[in-house]
Amino acid sequence: MRRAFFIFAAALSLAGTASPAHAADARLFYYSPQFGPGNLSGLTEAVEEFFDDARVDIHFQAFARLEDLRREVAAAPPAFLIAPHWLVQTECIDRALRPIAQPRRGGATSGRRALMAGPSVRNAEQIVGGSVAAALPATASDHGETSIRKFRADHPGVKIIPVPKDIDALLAVGFGQVDAAFVSLAQFEMLERINPKLTASLREIGYSQESPFPRLYATTRASDDEVVAVVSTLTGARGRGTGRRMLATLGYDEATALEGAAARAIPTPPGCRFDGDNR
């Protein structure tokens, strides 16, 4: 109780007081292939407006391309990062990445994606020689979600056609242009509502993956005070108009703090090397 009060008091002292909470050079990077690249400027505006309103001094930068994120991280790792789970498991971001907050949508903290196939395909083995559509980053064919990487390894003869968005992949398999597609079940349900005839012919054939929504991570560059400030501000976002707008832009209802085992640092991917002291 006392600890919670202390954190709360620290948070109050850093946010919502007369002077802005100085997170000095604290930068927050954002990357999510699921977010339409055309509106990153709108997202940036919404996030900056929110943090200004909450009087938390933080610099937000959103990336459309993975290679741009890599370049900036290599130049100087940020204090905070919002990114998909698969990215922090595979990319060399920092010595230690600690998940500190997660978004929620309709009470859920993750979304499911699966391999959906047309009526003539009953299992993944039948796709030999065929093609599969998937929303992937523009480059780096060996990246992407675990399920896609596993599928590539299991079925090297199948061509994966990268498409810009989940909906492209879903419509491609729905209209029979590809044999199967990796899609999010949320998108599938959206399509099912407006075109049930199209979705009735599709079936899930495995490679299902429950993926947490992109979480907020703290790197070794983030001080304890900064972590407290950012987490408390984000978890209180729903109480502000600017916060609700920011959450709505991202597609979420709220953000909650991660604690205990859920907040344990992510192991650094093998082969990563970092120069000297990162702070």
């Binding site: 339409g36 909906i167 407006i194």
Partner: protein, 320 residues
């Protein structure tokens, strides 16, 4: 070739025939032999230096394991003939990826037996691409378009369509069928001349939630676009166009093909007809799309740009 070979064979005595025929058959077989993959290359032929070709070429290159050689016709048929013949001189071409009508047509004319995959060919149905030919069409099928419209604007159940005889019967029939499947009421007005468009709009404006503008040269004029975009904004009718330029000029949104995906798709299609000669050589609709939304117009017509819509947008113009 075959008739003269038989004449030659018939003129020889048995001894000569026994040695000549195997040589002849062997020689003929060389013409049909497939180039070993290790030595092969793919020709990427572009009609000219349009910047739009860069993305599909890049995606094609990433999607293929073959060495590629790029040939730019620069709009010249004679230059194209010269470069293509030179590139083919070593007989190492496995296939051709052609961008643009001139590139596709010339490639097929010069090399009718080399598998061809094309992209960015307007009205590809008008051209004869015999033999092993496949490709990616430029137009997004109407059923796909209307499905996307419904996803983006679930409350827009009445879509207006002003068209002339220049809109193909096929596309019109597809629109009617798609509307029926999706529970959309398609409100049509047929016009003969460009000046008929404003009157057509006025007749339907109170009966529609959205107006779809396909590529119809009678309807799509500068004056008509200006009129329709202004009236739709005033009447809070969602104006659905087919290219980003129209969205920047005042339409609510456009859905057009994604060029990069065309390259990946063309690579898969080409490989399919090379490796499986019996595979159907069909032309596919583009898999990837580019959704452009005008945030200013969205505000005017009361369309809420929530995360679901923004998540599908590639470009958002205007200020929210």
């Amino acid at each position: 070739m075959r008739p003269s070979a038989f004449v030659c064979v018939s003129r020889f005595r048995d001894g000569l025939t026994r040695s000549f025929v195997p040589v002849l058959v062997f020689g003929l077989s060389l013409l049909a032999v497939r180039v070993p993959a290790a030595d092969a290359k793919i020709l990427v032929v572009k009609s000219d230096s349009l910047p739009q070709y860069a993305a599909p070429i890049r995606a094609f290159r990433e999607a293929t394991d073959d060495e590629i050689e790029i040939i730019d016709l620069q709009g010249s048929r004679e230059r194209g003939k010269r470069l293509l013949r030179s590139a083919a001189a070593d007989n190492k071409i496995r296939g051709i990826f052609a961008l643009g009508t001139q590139a596709a047509y010339l490639s097929k004319q010069l090399f009718p037996n080399i598998p061809l995959s094309f992209a960015m060919v307007l009205n590809w149905e008008q051209y004869d691409f015999p033999g092993a030919s496949t490709g990616v069409a430029v137009e997004i099928p109407v059923d796909v378009l209307f499905t996307r419209f419904r996803l983006l604007l679930p409350n827009a159940t009445r879509i207006g369509l002003i068209h002339s005889q220049r809109l193909s019967e096929q596309r019109l029939a597809a629109a009617r069928e798609a509307a029926r499947t999706l529970g959309i009421t398609l409100v049509e007005e047929n016009v003969r001349f460009p000046d008929d468009v404003p009157g057509a709009y006025r007749r339907i404006r109170s009966a529609i939630d959205a107006l779809w503008m396909p590529t119809d040269p009678v309807v799509v004029t500068r004056d008509n676009f200006r009129y329709l975009s202004q009236r739709c904004a005033r009447d809070r009718v969602a104006f659905l166009a087919f290219s980003e330029n129209f969205v920047r000029a005042g339409a609510l949104l456009s859905i057009s093909p994604d060029y990069a995906t065309m390259g990946s798709q063309a690579a898969v299609l080409l490989e399919r007809i090379i490796s499986t000669p019996d595979a159907p050589a069909d032309v596919q609709a583009p898999l990837g799309s580019s959704l452009v939304i005008n945030a200013d117009v969205a505000k005017q017509v009361d369309v809420d740009l929530d995360a679901a819509i923004l998540g599908m947008a590639d470009v958002v113009v205007g200020e929210k």
